[in-house]
């Protein structure tokens, strides 16, 4: 099963897990499986129209799915899907 790396901001919704397994043959299916398991992640990943939010970057291994086939990008069992939000912490 593909793994999903969970960023710090979403871990409150995955019981603190930093990496979870989620079934699916493409990126969209994997993310939907994640949402099915952890419903509170949905609002942060998808818009009400069901599209991936623009402020969420999703990587398949080391490549941005925006330059692949987006949510249709095929995923194999050994792949890692990474959810990458912008972070701004640093200064204060």
């Amino acid at each position: 099963m593909p793994s999903v790396k969970v960023p710090p901001v979403l871990r409150q919704h995955t019981g603190g897990a930093t990496e979870v397994q989620a079934a699916g043959s493409n990126v969209g299916e994997v993310l939907n499986a994640l949402v099915a398991e952890y419903p509170e992640t949905k609002a942060q990943l998808f818009s009400e129209e069901g599209e991936l939010n623009r402020f969420v970057n999703v990587y398949l291994n080391d490549e941005d799915v925006r330059v692949l086939d987006g949510l249709e990008t095929a995923v194999s069992d050994t792949d890692t899907v990474m959810i990458l939000p912008a972070m701004a912490g640093g200064s204060r």
Partner: protein
């Protein structure tokens, strides 16, 4: 053993002008076989110093046996002797420069010297100048470099200390905050006795005590669309450790316009991210993150913990990027986003590409008026502008 005259006769020689032409091509390795004090007085740029007594021991670190090696000394005698040593070691393509650096200078070819450094600086930066990748030329570049730090906080504090120690000639610090006791768990440039002082002046004190070579400029205010171009135009490189999205987008838009490289890092709890944005060479911050997250997904908007050591680690990675950019060596994190997870001690590298539709650095990007830099249609809605974490 063959007679000495026979051995000497097999050493091939080239003229200084031929050596110059080869060095311009960039294929040959130049080895300066003199003593350090001679090298300091005058040397050929790009050459590596290996004194005659060390040539057999140190050559392996400077050239491979198949490399084209040009040896050079003062007049041509020591370099010819060294060439014999290398040929005995199996170096296949070795030549000695006839007449040495004396003839080189007589032909009007350029030499560099350590004259750019004072005796105190030669001593202070000797561990830099001993590195062939840095050398005196590199140290002079560092001393002439101007680096602006956004924030003298978690990231800026360690970055500023190491850049100051490295001899970065001018360091600007933008921070309008004052030192708080809760900063001291990670902001190592400040200290207990300076709680309540402006961070920019506390940082200046630490830097001046560490290295009097560094000129520190304090900017004890927040950047906005009206002042950012003025501030950053004086600098070669900007180090972004800002704690909020509006400043990060504002800096991106202004730095792309002025074509200033930005070393950008952020930290949260046990996680860090870093990338180097070189305008038009690689992606910009907006190519990576086209829009900021809403407040509920923007953890900098509320109080969050951070492991103090994380700030140090990511700050060091930022300082390392600055050093490479100034020296022109290595591979900066251009087009690459490096993630660090402290608990697992894992680094992950992701590819970041230029977005052909980027509103700031894309080929069809419109001219953005200054008043709109860093803006989004719903700008006011997120994070209430500035909120410290």
């Amino acid at each position: 053993m063959a007679p000495e005259t026979t051995e000497t006769s097999v050493v091939k020689e080239i003229t200084p002008n031929e050596a110059w032409a080869e060095l311009q091509e960039g294929d040959a390795k130049l080895i300066d076989t003199r003593e350090p004090h001679e090298h300091a007085e005058a040397h050929i740029e790009g050459g590596r110093l290996i004194p005659p007594a060390l040539i057999a021991d140190q050559i392996a670190g400077a050239a491979a046996k198949t490399d084209r090696v040009i040896l050079q000394c003062r007049s041509g005698a020591r370099s010819a002797a060294a060439a014999e040593v290398l040929m005995e070691l199996g170096y296949e393509d070795v030549v000695s420069m006839a007449g040495g650096i004396l003839e080189w200078e007589a032909q009007g070819l350029p030499v560099a010297s350590d004259a750019g450094l004072t005796p105190e600086q030669r001593d202070r930066y000797s561990r830099h100048t001993l590195l062939p990748e840095v050398g005196v030329e590199g140290q002079v570049k560092l001393l002439n470099a101007k680096v602006l730090l956004l924030g003298a906080g978690g990231l800026g504090a360690p970055t500023a200390l190491y850049l100051a120690a490295a001899g970065i000639g001018k360091i600007g610090i933008v921070d309008d905050d004052v030192v708080d006791a809760s900063n001291l768990q990670r902001q190592v440039i400040h200290n207990t006795s300076r709680v309540g002082q402006p961070k920019s002046s506390s940082a200046r004190q630490s830097i001046e005590e560490l290295n009097p070579d560094v000129e520190v400029v304090e900017y004890n205010f927040r950047l906005n669309a009206g002042n950012i171009l003025d501030v950053i135009s004086d600098y070669d490189i900007i180090v972004d450790g800002a704690d909020n999205f509006p400043t990060r987008y504002l800096l991106n838009d202004a730095s792309v316009r002025l074509k200033k490289p930005v070393v950008s890092a952020s930290i949260l709890s046990f996680d860090g991210q870093i990338s180097t944005f070189v305008p038009y060479e690689g992606p910009c911050y907006r190519c990576l993150y086209p829009t900021p997250p809403p407040p509920e997904l923007a953890p900098s908007c509320s109080a969050n913990g951070v492991l103090g050591v994380m700030a140090g680690l990511m700050g060091m990675l930022q300082a390392n990027e600055v050093m490479k950019l100034v020296l022109g060596i290595g591979e900066p994190l251009v087009g690459r986003l490096l993630l660090y997870e402290a608990l697992g001690t894992r680094f992950t590298e992701l590819k970041v590409r230029r977005d052909p539709e980027c509103p700031i650095c894309g080929p069809d990007a419109p001219e953005v008026p200054e008043s709109e830099m860093g803006q989004f249609p719903d700008y006011e809605a997120f994070c209430g502008g500035y909120t410290g974490s």
